[in-house]
């Protein structure tokens, strides 16, 4: 029955226009970004070459689809959660507001099953959206701008050969999807508490912005509490580009994020099972 329920929830999610907004936004934005890079990236390329020329002999162009995807992943990482929250925030609260729980929760199915199906369906949406993002950034970028070695800037400069870059991007997107599942779960938790689709988005977005600020602003007090805040581990995907890949760190980050996810799920479940449907 759970599989059937998940199918029902997926139909409901993709039947709503708001669910297509994320895809539409990426479908418009990504070609625009790639086109913009292809037309006006000389400055960026010169900066990169300037930093590299003391240590490397550059043959050809470092500017390619990989680099564009890497840069895009960095600066869209606050915007993508918003697109996910449009759906995750509405999936439970929207039904409360619309009154449709009065036709679903009176049936011979436990609330836990219904909630679980909703959560899994929302995860499915998140995975599909990130996959679409990967196709529109890495796929389209590679086709449009070509591929080559990837220059990664973190604490130093790392050049990943073309063959390795594919693998690292695959890893990065898997980690990024995992982070977005945490965002999904956070927003889902808020969604199970209220009966309007806006509140969960505001709640989850506020927590993420505050959390990211605490994780990134170098103030003593923030640095002390930063390890206990889940947003401090949101950059887990960037570790896919380190050499060697710090699997131990990634594992620790993943465990902490998983614990947070479980806490969010437990709160959602308790809240939803005890909830009076009065709308």
């Amino acid at each position: 029955m759970l599989i059937k329920l998940i199918g029902i929830e997926i139909i409901k999610i993709f039947g709503k226009k708001r669910s297509l907004l994320g895809f539409l936004a990426l479908a418009i934005l990504m070609p625009l970004i790639i086109w913009g890079f292809s037309k006006g990236a000389t400055g960026i390329e010169q900066d990169i070459v300037r930093q590299l020329e003391g240590s490397f002999i550059i043959v050809g162009s470092v500017f390619n689809g990989f680099l564009v995807t890497y840069i895009t992943m960095n600066f869209l990482w606050v915007h993508i959660p918003f697109l996910i929250m449009l759906v995750a925030g509405d999936v439970v609260a929207g039904e409360g507001a619309a009154g449709t729980f009065r036709i679903t929760l009176i049936r011979r199915i436990s609330r836990f099953q219904i909630l679980l199906a909703k959560l899994i369906a929302t995860y499915f949406y998140t995975i599909i959206l990130i996959t679409f993002f990967a196709i529109m950034s890495l796929g389209l970028g590679s086709l449009w701008l070509g591929i080559g070695d990837l220059v990664v800037f973190d604490e130093g400069i790392l050049i990943l050969p073309q063959e390795m870059a594919w693998v690292r991007f695959a890893l990065a997107f898997v980690f990024a999807t995992f982070v977005m599942l945490v965002v999904t779960t956070l927003c889902f938790m808020f969604s199970s508490m209220v009966n309007n689709g806006i509140g969960p988005i505001i709640g989850a977005m506020s927590i993420i912005i505050i959390g990211l600020a605490i994780a990134n602003i170098p103030i003593d007090i923030f640095e002390k509490i930063s390890p206990y805040i889940f947003t401090s581990y949101f950059d887990i995907w960037q570790k896919a580009f380190f050499d060697p890949v710090p699997w131990r760190d990634i594992g620790n980050d993943a465990i902490i994020l998983t614990i947070y996810m479980l806490v969010f799920i437990i709160i959602s479940t308790v809240q939803f099972i005890r909830k009076d449907i009065s709308t």
Binding site: G7, I8, K12, G15, K17, T100, R102, R107, R274, I277
Partner: protein
Amino acid sequence: MSEVILSVKNLSKSFGKRKAVDGLSFDIKIGEIFGFLGPNGAGKSTAIRAMLSLIKPDSGDIEIFTKSVRKYHNSALQGVGALVERPDFYEYLSAYKNLSLLATMDNVSKTRIGEVLKIVGLANRREDKVKAFSQGMKQRLGIAQALLSNPKLLILDEPTNGLDPRGMKEVRGLIQKLAQEGITILLSSHLLHEVEQTCTTMAIINLGKLIKIGSVHDLLNESDTFITEIKAKPLKKAWKLLKYSKLISFVEENNGIFKVKIANKDLSKLTHDLIKADIDVSAIIPRTSLEDYFLSLTGDSI
């Protein structure tokens, strides 16, 4: 004694300081069309939501088919169909798709969807999105979703709300038809005449408490006085007789129709007196019997 299909036991529920349902108890027997009557805010919908596990009662329990809804949600609700207040659906989906999702949850075949759409007269609109439906059509679709699982007990909360007179008549006809097919029905309404016309048994609640319960017929017979409309000619002669009749405590005439207050038992004697006085009586219609009764129970005046 008939078998009890639904039993409400000392049910109470508060929202903040307001007690919505206060120690409510009653039984519904198999085959009844049970009217659940009360003014707006009496606690009918709260009680129905508790019956269907939409809200958790503060105390008390509800048993459906002898199974506690609290303890055995799934098995207790097997064989129950319900329409709670407004019929809200996934407006962006078609009527068929909406019912298809619910049929999957009920584990019933897709052919049943066609059957219930036919029963409620929406078979030709099955592919239309619900957002294009009128209130009446949504109401009928609401009944259709309640019928999906071939219920033995149908709980309908204000099913004629928002319907025009024709729609109301159709829904009432449908309820009676379903009852004839053996479905036990709980019909919640604040419309007195609806309960009077449709139900066999009724419970009257006010301020969350049960005021009266019994068969509609018996409860009406308990009532002493009726407001009855009489059409009689010649007007002057009829007026004179009615005004001075000892059987009548109140009379007024408006557009050729007399409105009189008379005890139920005296109605036939008055008819006899009118005919004996050579007055042509074309209609005697008890108009607001249940209304009077209801208002007297809830402490309001006519």
